[in-house]
Structures are given as structure tokens and as C-alpha cells.
């Protein structure tokens, strides 16, 4: 019998010690208690005040017990459901799991056929959703762009309306305000079978962003209140820029990001106890030479890992960032930066890692980057699965039976394990030189492009219900009428 034996069931990786986490945790609470945040939403201030916050004008300070209570109410583990109930597409948030997906709202898009960088247009949201639906290591959907050829106030709604029928994977939606939030919600609950069915099996998440440093804007909180009242799981994600809108030091960056997130958390849990809530942040640096907010910096990956550990220490999941790059094109830089941050996210178990497929520091969405990162995520997932150690995998008896000078090729042990123990690439080429040149000497870039086009031409996503299709048509028509009437009023 084995005794007193400790097992690592995955590859271990830690940024912080327990002492450091404790210090980060309590110092974050200190920031919330003694400095507080400006909260630009009257109703939010009232709700928080009633729950025990100290309110001076727009400044809101949270006594630490409030935040700890909110943290204890928010779940560490819950499921985001595929709209068609496909169990392979459900996302089970919880310890030791990491999921990946694209990011939102880039102004530009790499056209999958002309390869040009051009404005993101209507049809692109469908393409992105389709590719997300097909790629095995991409788990949730965002659009990689904001639609430029619809009325500006409706781009978020159109995005959702075009993505929803084209993937059954859970979607992370954003919106401008209450009215488009409402329209998006209507689509999702129709497919789920009503509000109550949705509450039991939420099929999308709502995303909002406060402003760093230390500001909860009206828009972010209004959307948060909408989501909380309709029990839509929430992502609340600041974007602090080390050296510009946050301390230059990564520990301070992490603490400020956590403080900004936990103001949202406290409000959300006060309104809707137990609401699934992802704290956030895109935590990176201002490059002090180019003045770019970097999506390829090692500090991004490292700070995200640190923030993930803090989130998990506090008992809630993290909205992580990775698979993105500062490169302008599908090249070696894009591969290096994207893969390393994907690997870091997989290692730390950052729960939902977004921005996979961002290029040019979040200015241009790319299906090619997304597709290449699908491979990097597969690779990383093999590493994080770790090495199982038991009598069978240690194979002392197998080694004995094969003995010196034998081989394992036909051994039942090999047949039993070769599929699960090894990872099989779909883009990385392992053929020998002759085979590779006979197949056209294609570099990675060409293989990625071909795979994206093949998905676009062959993949059919699971359909949505007829009534959902009708609702989509209706909410879009209503929204068009709404903006038309406000536009004429303005004139």
C-alpha cells in the first residue's frame, strides 16, 4: 500500500508564495478601504452605502469585511453552457482548469482571403464565430472586432446577433448601454428557453470595463447592474497600464487591478448574491520607447499569472489575457509572443484567457493568429497535463519484459498509451524533408492560412432554434428603429 505519498497531477508553477499572496490580498483590501474608488453611478453608490460602504461625494471606500463577504458569496466553480447542450463545449470553471477564446472590438481585421488589413465589417463576426466553433482548443467566443458598417451605437448588438447562430460555444458579450444589453439578453434567453432556464444554464457572459486608475464609470456599472439583475455571469476587467495608469511595478499593478475589480465584485454580489464573477485585467506595460500598450511583453504574461494566483487565493476565477501579439503580421514574433503567453496562462490556470488572436497591440483581429494559437494551446495543454506516475506508467515490468536490445513498437503497453500520452499536432509539421518538400514546402504561415480557409468553407455550426432566429430579426429591427428615431430627434 502506498502511504504518505503526494501526487502532482499536473505541471506545477507558482509566481507567489503564500506569504506574498496574503500580503497582496490584504494590501488590496487596504486600497479599497483607505483610498477607495470614484464611483460615477448614483444608484451604485446608494446600493454600496446601504451595504456598509463609506461614501464621500463620488468617492466610495469599502471596509474590508464587505469585500471579503462578497468574495465568499461569489462561486469559484460553475458551468458556462453551450447553447446546444453539447457537453464537449461546456466550460467548467474551477480549480486546475484553463479555457481560451478571442478578444473583442479591434477596429481592423485581416481579411482571410485577400490577407489585407482592413476595417472589420458585418460578415466578419460570422467568420470568427465559425472558426471558434471549429477549433478544438478555443473554448469561448468573442468577435475580434467591432463592426464598422452598421450604426455606431449598434455594433455590439450586431456582433452578438451574428456570432450567436454561428457557434454553440459560450459567448462573452459586451455592449454600450442598457438597451443593447437587453436586446442581447433577449436573444440568449430565447435560445435557453426563458429567463429561469437561462439562470440555471447561462450561455453567455457579460463584459464590462472600469477605468484605471481607480474609477468605476457610469457605463461599466450600469452594464454590471443590468447583468446582475438578470443573473448574467460577469467579467469585470480593468486595463491598467504599468507606468502610466498603474504603478510601474508589477506587484502594484496587480493590487490596483484587483482593487478595481473588487469594487465591481462587491456591487455585483450585493445585488445578486452568488453571481458568477470573473475579476479581470489586461495587465501590461507602457513600452517606454514606443509608447505602445504591449500585448506581447513578458510582463503581461507574468502579471496575469500573478493576478490569477491572487484571484484564486481570494476564491474567484480570473479573466486572463494571452495568445496576443504586438506584431503586425503572421510571423515569428507573433508566434513567440502568442505562444509564451498562452503557455503562461495554461500553467497558472487563468480561468478564461481572452485576446487570443489579437495582433498589432489590439488594433487588428486575426483568424490566423487565433488558429495558430489553437495549436499552441494544444501544446501547452499537453504540458500542463503533466506526467502521471504509477506502476503502469512507470512500466518497470514492461522495461523488464522488453529488456536490453528489444523494442517497444509492438508492445501492448505502447498500443495502450500512444494516443493519450502523446499530443498530435495539426499545424506543426513533423514530416521529413522529402515529404515536406513533396507537399509544397509550405511554411507554418501557409498551413495556418489553408486551415482557416478550410474551416470557413467546410464547417457547419449547430443551428439555433427557429424562435431565436425570429427574435434576432426582431431585436435588430427594433434597434434600427430606435437609433433612427434618436438620430432624427438630434437633428
Amino acid at each position: 500500500m502506498r502511504t504518505n505519498y503526494r501526487v502532482n497531477s499536473g505541471t506545477r508553477f507558482h509566481v507567489f508564495s503564500k506569504d506574498q499572496l496574503e500580503q497582496l490580498f490584504w494590501d488590496t483590501l487596504h486600497i479599497l478601504e483607505y483610498t477607495g474608488l470614484d464611483v460615477h453611478h448614483e444608484e451604485a453608490r446608494e446600493i454600496l452605502k446601504k451595504a456598509g460602504a463609506w461614501v464621500d461625494g463620488i468617492r466610495v471606500r469599502l471596509p474590508s469585511y464587505m469585500v471579503r463577504k462578497a468574495l465568499s458569496m461569489a462561486p469559484r466553480s460553475f458551468t458556462l453552457w453551450a447553447r446546444d447542450g453539447d457537453p464537449k463545449k461546456n466550460i467548467h470553471i474551477g480549480p486546475g482548469r484553463a479555457y481560451f477564446g478571442p478578444g473583442p472590438t479591434c477596429p481592423n481585421f485581416i481579411d482571410p482571403y485577400t490577407l489585407e488589413r482592413r476595417p472589420y465589417v458585418k460578415g466578419d463576426a460570422e467568420l470568427v464565430a465559425k472558426v471558434v466553433d471549429a477549433l478544438p482548443n478555443i473554448d469561448f467566443c468573442e468577435s475580434l472586432g467591432s463592426i464598422s458598417d452598421v450604426h455606431v451605437d449598434l455594433s455590439a448588438l450586431y456582433e452578438f446577433a451574428y456570432m450567436f447562430p454561428n457557434t454553440s460555444k459560450p459567448i462573452v458579450a459586451w455592449s454600450f448601454r442598457w438597451d443593447d444589453s437587453e436586446a442581447i439578453h433577449k436573444i440568449a434567453i430565447t435560445e435557453a428557453g426563458g429567463q429561469e432556464a437561462f439562470e440555471r444554464r447561462p450561455n453567455y457572459v457579460h463584459y464590462c470595463e472600469p477605468v484605471s486608475p481607480l474609477v468605476s464609470t457610469f457605463e461599466a456599472l450600469d452594464k454590471l447592474i443590468f447583468a446582475a439583475r438578470h443573473r448574467v455571469p460577469l467579467v469585470f476587467t480593468p486595463c491598467p497600464i504599468a507606468g502610466a495608469t498603474a504603478p510601474c511595478t508589477l506587484a502594484g499593478l496587480i493590487a490596483q487591478a484587483a482593487a478595481e475589480s473588487w469594487m465591481g465584485l462587491t456591487l455585483a454580489q450585493t445585488i445578486a448574491p452568488g453571481l458568477p464573477f470573473f475579476m479581470g485585467g489586461v495587465t501590461s506595460i507602457l513600452d517606454m520607447q514606443t509608447m505602445i500598450f504591449s500585448y506581447g511583453a513578458p510582463e503581461l504574461a507574468l502579471a496575469e499569472c500573478g493576478l490569477t494566483e491572487l484571484a484564486h487565493y481570494a476564491g474567484i476565477p480570473l479573466w486572463n489575457t494571452g495568445g496576443c501579439t504586438d506584431s503586425k503580421t503572421l510571423d515569428e514574433q507573433a508566434a513567440i509572443e502568442g505562444s509564451f503567453s498562452v503557455m503562461a496562462a495554461a500553467l497558472c490556470g487563468g480561468d478564461l484567457t481572452h485576446d487570443v488572436g489579437y495582433t498589432e497591440s489590439a488594433m487588428t483581429g486575426s483568424l490566423f493568429q487565433l488558429c495558430m494559437m489553437d495549436e499552441a494551446i494544444g501544446w501547452s495543454r499537453r504540458v500542463t497535463r503533466g506526467i502521471e506516475v504509477n506502476e503502469e506508467t512507470l512500466a518497470v515490468e514492461v522495461i523488464k519484459s522488453v529488456g536490453p536490445n528489444g523494442h517497444y513498437l509492438r508492445h501492448p503497453h505502447t498500443r495502450k498509451f500512444f494516443k493519450t500520452e502523446f499530443w498530435y499536432p495539426t499545424l506543426c509539421d513533423r514530416h521529413n524533408y522529402e515529404e515536406w518538400s513533396a507537399a509544397g514546402s509550405l511554411p507554418m504561415r501557409e498551413r495556418v492560412i489553408a486551415k482557416v480557409r478550410e474551416i470557413l468553407e467546410t464547417h457547419t455550426p449547430p443551428p439555433i432554434k427557429k424562435e431565436t432566429r425570429d427574435v434576432i430579426e426582431k431585436v435588430l429591427a427594433d434597434a434600427e428603429a430606435r437609433v433612427k428615431s434618436t438620430d432624427t430627434k438630434k437633428k
Partner: protein, 213 residues
Amino acid sequence: MSKILEQLATAIIEGDIDNTPKLVQKALDEGLEPLSILNDGMVMGMNEVGRRFKAGEMFVPEVLMSAEAMQAGLKILRPLLVSSGAKLLGKVIMATVQGDLHDIGKNLVGMMCEGAGFEVIDLGFDVPAERIVQAVKEHKPDIVGLSALLTTTMRQMAYTIKALEEAGLRDKVKVMVGGAPVDAEFAKKIGADGYGSNAAAGAELAKKLVGAA
């Protein structure tokens, strides 16, 4: 170059906020002309800062310290220059347009303009066109710098330029625009006088717009 002017240039390069005004005072006490103190001392230093920044030898926080030192020195020199009738670089109003909360880029442009010797008035972010018009009436700037980071707020730049036209102020100021999604073509389309792709380019552009570079 006299020793004091050399020291002054060095103080600017090193971003020495304490020493720069002291050296300016000393130079005045030694009888140097204000315009010479500015152009042969401080601006020389700032030009070197610009060169080093472009070459990757200096970094943003260091450049901003130099800009601050420049302003600290100008505080003493500006009234003297004005009364002597010397032509100053002038005033820049900076604003992130209505509906847009991204302000770090706008702040950087403002600070780099200060480094170039401009006086900068920062109206903040989410600034409606009417407030910009109001500020132009009040401060009579030479340049208005507009920043937008969202494709949805870029149109506010066009509205602002129109509002300046309607208020009869358009020919009194130059308008420069910038921000991640903005480009030169867009700037031309909305009738701006120039576009800068980053903060340093913004400061260069500002100098060009007032005929100083």
C-alpha cells in the same frame, strides 16, 4: 556656448527640475538675454533629448522629466520674453473628445508639447465640442490637439472642427488630431491641419503648425 548655457542644457537633459530654474536665474543675473537662455541653452538641451529618445537612448519617463524641467525654466522666462516682444511657441489645448475615456495618449502628447516649449492646457477626457469651443474663446490657443481612441468617437473630432467653424474660430487655431485608430487620411477628410502618429510626432507637428520647425 557660455558655461552657464551648457549647464542649463545638461540640466534639461537630466530632467533636473530643481536646478533648471536656479540656472535660468543665474544666467539672467549674469546678464544673458532671455531669448538666448531659451534657444541656446534650454532648447539645445531639449533637441538633444529628442535625438536620444529617437535613438532609443532615452525613455519616456526621462523625456517627461526633461519636459518638466523645461516648463520650470520657462516659468521664469515666459513673462520676460512676453514683455520683450519675443515670439513664443504659444499655447496648445489638448482634449480627448466626447464619449471617449482613453486619456494616456493625450496626456503624453501634452507633456511632449510642454517639452517643446508650449504652454499646454489640458481639458481632460470625454470633452464635448462646445467645451472645446468655449476654451478656445477663453484661452486663445494657437493649436487645438484632439485625441480619440475609438472608431465610434472619431466622428466627434469632425463635430468639434465644425463647431469651431460655426463659432468663427476655425481660422484662429490649428487643429491637430491623433489616437490609435486615426490616420492622416482621416485627418485630411475632416479638415484637420495635421496628424501625429505618436506623442513625439505630435510635438514636432505642433512646432511645424506654428511655423517653428
